[in-house]
Symmetry: none
């Protein structure tokens, strides 16, 4: 279970150091993680490899001739990249994913249950500040008391 957020930075080669607290949680997958595009925002999903293997079949099962699910498959499967932690606990973010999420030096790594989300600091702040209309709130959320 991933939660909490970390401000981290990417070096000139596109490497990011995984915070040690997150690294401990990732031990279950021996440092094998999967990074892929997020369909709803310009950010990335990060999953332990074993968690990704559980999600993947659900994505593959989506129909290929429906526009919405075709786009989702193109993003999620089409950008999935298995990564390994190097000797210093860093991973190299592939150029296409760097580009997709508009990652520069300053990033945010945000825990989200099954996995994490990797945002550019700028995009993250922008998203948080953006207002959304409450019209199409799903049913389970209408009566949720926090």
């Amino acid at each position: 279970m991933f939660y909490g957020s970390h401000a981290i930075s990417m070096d000139s080669k596109g490497r990011i150091a995984i915070p040690s607290r997150v690294r401990e949680l990732l031990e279950e997958c021996n440092g094998n993680i999967v990074l892929t595009a997020h369909t709803e925002n310009r950010c990335l999903h990060m999953y332990p490899e074993n968690q990704w293997q559980e999600i993947l079949p659900k994505i593959e099962a989506l129909p290929s001739f429906n526009k919405i699910s075709r786009r989702a498959k193109l993003l999620l499967i089409g950008h999935a990249s298995p990564l390994e932690l190097d000797a210093n606990g860093r991973v190299l973010v592939p150029p296409t994913l760097r580009e997709y999420a508009k990652l520069d030096k300053k990033l945010m790594l945000v825990g989200q249950g099954k996995g994490l989300e990797l945002w550019s600091e700028e995009m993250f702040a922008e998203y948080i500040d953006s207002s959304v209309d409450n019209e199409d709130m799903p049913e389970g959320m209408q009566n949720l008391a926090l």
Copy 2:
């Protein structure tokens, strides 16, 4: 299983270098690949030859008096081109297919399970950014939690 994306480029002769990571996955077919038109977008399908041989009969079996499937057959079978990797791991994209997918210098090669999709960078970005209405979202996707 193909996944992940690569930004690649086409030279003045219409040759594209297959990324080494993809090339490894293609080894099962000894570098014999098939390139053909995609029915849903102006891009191309790329399959290992043996994978294509499994798909081809299914396409041939589609009815000839249905407009949608007739169009699909015309595109998929009518544009299928067997290609071979050269000594440097490159393939020459036939002019017709280059034209169909509006390929210029900058391309995207995107893994999609059984095969890959080859896009012009411009077309791909346009497709990813295109907004879709969520009205006809497939059932399996409505409650999918990633």
